[in-house]
């Protein structure tokens, strides 16, 4: 099979686009570091946890569970599976594009996958990005920000301004709103937006925020697939 483009140029392009996201990830990392320190994690432990799991929401849930003192290994495993189930969706949507780079490059890139750079990469793909190194590139500044933020939060909590005061906790939502607006090119694109927002609100109300995002993605995909069949 001929492999898709995977070059240093694409990696650089991704890294450049990832820098603004990395700013918000630093703040998020500080948040996790703070919580981890309160739960008795040392700076080293907090940073290793951030590197190994590489998902803020899953780490926060896991630390909360550990703090109860009644966590079993299975409960810990299951908690992370549930919180990170959206990554199943992220991986599936990237697969047709990313797989053509070859297995090693594809799976290595997935290690750097997160919420923010999934959004950014999907937007880039839609805008015609062909270089598969773009995803790994976006991951570089984000990873550095995540680990640096964790270390800062776990180590020097008391001297830092609260990320909320600077609005950094809203960074992902702001990027989501902006990218969503930029990606709506035709009237048909409004359908998944309406379905996604509605589903997220209903599921968050009935079940909770963690499954709401997955439900939004699945509902948007299902409706788009259904409408497509009618049109064909």
């Amino acid at each position: 099979m001929t492999r898709a483009l995977f070059s240093l140029d694409g990696f650089r392009r991704g890294a450049r686009d990832g820098v603004p996201l990395a700013l918000s990830i630093i703040a998020y990392g500080v948040g996790f570091g703070l919580v981890a320190a309160q739960a008795g994690f040392g700076v080293g432990q907090a940073v290793v946890t951030s590197a190994a799991i590489y998902s803020g929401s899953a780490q926060l849930a896991a630390v909360n569970l550990l703090q109860t003192g009644e966590a079993t290994l299975w409960a810990l495993f299951a908690t992370i599976l549930v919180i990170n189930a959206r990554y199943l969706l992220f991986g599936a949507t990237l697969q047709p594009w990313l797989w053509s780079a070859g297995p090693l490059r594809a799976y290595s890139s997935l290690l750097l996958l997160g919420d923010a750079n999934w959004l950014m990469t999907m937007r880039a793909i839609r805008a015609g990005e062909v270089d598969r190194a773009y995803l790994a590139g976006t991951g570089l500044p984000i990873t550095l920000g995540w680990l640096a933020g964790t270390a800062l939060g776990a180590g020097a909590v008391s001297v830092l301004p609260r990320p909320e005061a600077l609005g950094f906790d809203m960074m992902l939502a702001c990027f989501a709103a902006g990218m969503m607006t930029a990606m709506v090119k035709a009237r048909a694109d409004l359908l998944p937006v309406v379905v996604g927002a509605g589903t997220a609100l209903v599921v968050a109300y009935l079940v909770g925020p963690a499954p709401a995002i997955i439900a939004a993605g699945l509902a948007g995909a299902a409706v788009a697939a259904a409408v497509h069949r009618e049109a064909a």
Partner: protein
């Protein structure tokens, strides 16, 4: 909880890794028809709308106004990154003003 930190870490990392690669791996065996492609294209839009809607619901007036301004600024400036960064400034200012 009596397990040592490396054991906890390994269990957590394994679960996170599984989520990261499982959807991707399963998708290798799904033929990408135009209908599947339409579903894949719609997914990020629905997820972004979901994230935005939840942030508005969980937040208050400041958060709602900031996200609305991001949508407006993206259309005006034609740059979603600039609009998002300005949206964060809007949140910070509104919170500072006590809204």
């Amino acid at each position: 909880m009596t397990e040592s930190f490396p054991v906890l870490l390994a269990v957590m990392a394994a679960a996170a890794f599984l989520c990261r690669v499982a959807g991707f791996t399963l998708m290798r065996f799904v033929p990408v028809s135009p209908r599947v492609e339409a579903a894949l294209r719609a997914t990020p839009l629905a997820v972004m709308a979901g994230i935005t809607a939840l942030a508005v619901q969980a937040g208050g007036l400041a958060e709602g106004l900031a996200l609305a301004s991001v949508v407006g600024l993206t259309l005006i400036l034609r740059s979603d990154v600039a609009a998002a960064l300005l949206g964060v400034v809007v949140v910070a200012v509104l919170r500072w003003a006590g809204i």
